[in-house]
C-alpha cells in the first residue's frame, strides 16, 4: 500500500522545471516592460499602447477579419457536416480530405500561391470584369483576400472541433424527434441540433479567432497591416511597446479562452447528465493537436 500512495518526487521536479520554463519568459516580459533602464519602474509602455500610431486601426482590422473568417468558416462547414450526419455519409471522406488539404500547404507556401494569383489580375485580366473583383478583394480597408486565406487555414482546426462535437450528439435521432413533434426540417436543425453543438461551435470559433489574432505570415507577405504585423513593425523602434502589446495579447487570449469555456458549459442539467456532457464537452474543448501555422 505504501507503494501505491507514495507521492513520486519526479512528478514535482518535472512540474517545477516546466513551470519555470513556461513562466519565466512571461514574467521577464512583464519586468522588461515596467523596468526601463535609466527610468526605474514605469507603466509608460502600457499607457502608450492606446495612443501608439496605428494600434487601433490594426486591432480593429484584425477583429473585423476574425469575425468575417469565423462567419465564413461556420457557413461553409456546419451545413456540410450536419448533412453528412443526416443522410450523406458517403460525403464524409471527401469532406475530411478537403478539410485536411490545407495542412499539407504551410502558410508561407500558401501565400506565395496567393501572391501569384493576385498578379494575374493586372497581367491577364485587366480588360475583363473579373479585374474589379481582384481590386475589391485587395481593398486596403478590408482585404477580403485575407479572409479567404485565413478561412483555408482555419478549416482543419474548425473541422476537427466540429466533428468531435458532432460525434457526441446523435444528430439523426435529434432531428427525427423534433420532426415527429411537428418541427420543420430547418427548424429542427436551427433550434435543436445547433444548440446541442454549442460547445463545439464555440470551440471552433475560438480556434479560428486565436489563429486570426496571431496570424502574421499571410498579412505581412501580402502587404497588409493586421495586428501581429503592426507589433513587429513597431518593435523596430519601440521594443518596450511591442513586448507590452505581446503580454496584453497573451492575457486577452487567456481571457477569451475562459469566456468561451464558460459559455460552452451546459446549464441547468441534472448532475449525472452534466457530468457526462461535461466529459463530452471537454473532449471537444481539448484543442485539436494540430498547430496550424501559428509560429
Amino acid at each position: 500500500m505504501a507503494r501505491l500512495t507514495r507521492k513520486p518526487l519526479w512528478r514535482g521536479a518535472v512540474g517545477l522545471l516546466a513551470g519555470l520554463y513556461f513562466l519565466v519568459p512571461v514574467a521577464a516580459s512583464v519586468i522588461f516592460t515596467v523596468d526601463v533602464p535609466g527610468q526605474g519602474f514605469t507603466l509608460d509602455a502600457y499607457s502608450g499602447i492606446l495612443s501608439a500610431d496605428g494600434f487601433t486601426d490594426s486591432l480593429l482590422l484584425t477583429l473585423e477579419l476574425a469575425a468575417a473568417t469565423i462567419v465564413l468558416v461556420m457557413v461553409l462547414l456546419v451545413p456540410a457536416l450536419v448533412a453528412v450526419r443526416l443522410g450523406a455519409p458517403r460525403l464524409r471522406p471527401l469532406l475530411e480530405i478537403i478539410c485536411s488539404l490545407p495542412l499539407v500547404v504551410p502558410s508561407v507556401a500558401l501565400v506565395s500561391g496567393y501572391s501569384s494569383v493576385l498578379r494575374w489580375g493586372p497581367e491577364h485580366l485587366s480588360r475583363t470584369p473579373l479585374f474589379q473583383t481582384f481590386t475589391a478583394v485587395q481593398d486596403k480597408r478590408f482585404p477580403f483576400v485575407l479572409v479567404l486565406a485565413y478561412t483555408v487555414m482555419a478549416l482543419p482546426l474548425a473541422y476537427r472541433a466540429l466533428d468531435s462535437g458532432l460525434r457526441a450528439v446523435d444528430v439523426r435521432v435529434l432531428v427525427e424527434a423534433a420532426r415527429s413533434c411537428g418541427a420543420s426540417a430547418p427548424r429542427a436543425v436551427l433550434q435543436v441540433v445547433l444548440p446541442n453543438l454549442r460547445g463545439a461551435l464555440l470551440n471552433a470559433s475560438f480556434l479560428t479567432l486565436a489563429l486570426v489574432l496571431g496570424e502574421y505570415t499571410v498579412g505581412a507577405l501580402l502587404g497588409y497591416q493586421p495586428f501581429a504585423v503592426w507589433i513587429v513593425n513597431t518593435g523596430g523602434n519601440q521594443a518596450q511597446l511591442s513586448v507590452a502589446v505581446s503580454v496584453l495579447s497573451l492575457v486577452v487570449t487567456w481571457m477569451l479562452l475562459l469566456v468561451f469555456a464558460a459559455l460552452g458549459r451546459p446549464r441547468d442539467r441534472s448532475r449525472s447528465l452534466s457530468r457526462s456532457s461535461r466529459r463530452a464537452g471537454r473532449d471537444a474543448a481539448a484543442p485539436a493537436p494540430i498547430a496550424q501555422e501559428v509560429a
Binding site: W10, G15, A18, Y21, F22, V24, P25, A28, I31, F32, P37, L76, L77, P79, A80, A83, V84, L86, G87, A88, L95, I98, S100, L101, V104, V105, P106, V108, A109, G113, S116, W120, E123, A149, T151, V152, L155, A185, L211, G214, Y216, A220, L221, I231, V232, A239, V243, V245, S246, L250, T253, L257, A261, A285, P289, I290, A291, E293, V294, A295
Partner: protein, 284 residues
C-alpha cells in the same frame, strides 16, 4: 422533405465548401505548381516551361536553408518529444483534477502562442537586452538568442505544449491493469515502461514527433519577428523572395521553394495519418 431524400440535399449542403476550396485553395495551388515549373513573366523571353526553378531551389544557399530548416525542426521536435512525455505523464497521473485541466487548457493556449508574441517574450527574456541575459550575464557566457540553439529554445515553447496535447490521449489510454499485471509478474517500473507502455505508446509518440516536426518546419513568424537572419530558414527565404529580394526574372524561385515545402509537409502527413489511425486502436 423527408429524411430519405436528404442525399441530394447533402450534396447541396457541401457544395459551397467545395466551391470555396476550389477558388481559395485550388487556384493558389495551381498557380504555385505552374509557377514553379515556368520562368517568371518578367524574365527575358517571358514565361516558359522549365525545371530550372526547382533545381535551383535545392542548390547553393537554398539547399543550406532547406537543410538548416530540417535540422532545426528535427532537433527541436525531438527535444520536445523527449521532454514532453514525462511532462504529459506527470499531468495525466496528477490527482488534482483542476491542475490537470488547467495544464491542458494552458497547453492549448501555449501551443497556439506561437509567432510574434512568442518572439517578443523571448526578446525580453533572453535577447541582447533581455532580463535574464542582463541579470545572469549570459552574453559573456557566449549566449545569443539569434542563433540555431536560440531558436531551438524558443521553438520548444510552443512545441512542448503541442506534444503534451498530442500524447495525453494515448497516456490516458494506458490501462492501470496493464501496470498491475506487469507488477504481478514481477516487472520493475523500468521493465513495465520498456516492454509494455512504450511499445503501446510508440505510434502515438512517433505521430506526435512527426506533427511537431511539421509545425516547426512550417514556422515563419517567430523567426521573422526575432530577425534571426543568421540562421538560414526556407520559410525566411521564401518570404525574402516574395518581397522581391531576388534578381529580376527569378521571382518564381519562391514558388519552387514553396513546392519543396509542400513536398516535405506532404511526407509528414503521409507518415502522421497512418500512425494516428494505429494509435487510435488502443484508445477506445
Amino acid at each position: 422533405m423527408t429524411l430519405k431524400t436528404k442525399a441530394p440535399a447533402g450534396m447541396l449542403a457541401a457544395l459551397p465548401l467545395v466551391l470555396f476550396m476550389l477558388v481559395a485553395f485550388g487556384l493558389p495551388a495551381v498557380a504555385m505548381l505552374t509557377g514553379a515549373f515556368s520562368t517568371s513573366s518578367d524574365a527575358p523571353g517571358g514565361a516558359q516551361w522549365t525545371t530550372a526553378n526547382l533545381t535551383d531551389s535545392v542548390q547553393g544557399a537554398y539547399l543550406t536553408g532547406l537543410v538548416s530548416s530540417v535540422k532545426l525542426s528535427a532537433l527541436s521536435a525531438l527535444l520536445a518529444a523527449v521532454l514532453g512525455l514525462p511532462l504529459a505523464q506527470a499531468v495525466v497521473t496528477s490527482r488534482h483534477r483542476a491542475l490537470r485541466e488547467g495544464v491542458l487548457a494552458a497547453s492549448g493556449v501555449l501551443a497556439n502562442f506561437g509567432g510574434v508574441p512568442l518572439a517578443f517574450a523571448f526578446i525580453a527574456t533572453l535577447g541582447n537586452a533581455g532580463v535574464l541575459t542582463e541579470h545572469l550575464g549570459l552574453t559573456g557566457a557566449g549566449w545569443s538568442l539569434y542563433t540555431f540553439w536560440g531558436l531551438v529554445v524558443v521553438y520548444l515553447y510552443f512545441l512542448l505544449p503541442l506534444m503534451v496535447l498530442a500524447i495525453t490521449p494515448a497516456l490516458e489510454g494506458l490501462r492501470k491493469q496493464w501496470r498491475e499485471a506487469a507488477q504481478n509478474n514481477g516487472a520493475t517500473g523500468f521493465q513495465y515502461w520498456r516492454y509494455v507502455a512504450l511499445p503501446v505508446l510508440a505510434p502515438s509518440l512517433l505521430g506526435g514527433y512527426v506533427l511537431l516536426f511539421g509545425s516547426a518546419f512550417a514556422a515563419y513568424a517567430t523567426a521573422a519577428a526575432l530577425g534571426s537572419g543568421s540562421v538560414p530558414l526556407i520559410t525566411v527565404q521564401i518570404a525574402d523572395a516574395l518581397s522581391g529580394n531576388v534578381l529580376v526574372g527569378q521571382g518564381n524561385i519562391a514558388l519552387a521553394l514553396s513546392l519543396d515545402m509542400v513536398v516535405v509537409a506532404g511526407l509528414v502527413m503521409a507518415v502522421y495519418v497512418p500512425l494516428q489511425r494505429r494509435s487510435a486502436r488502443w484508445l477506445d
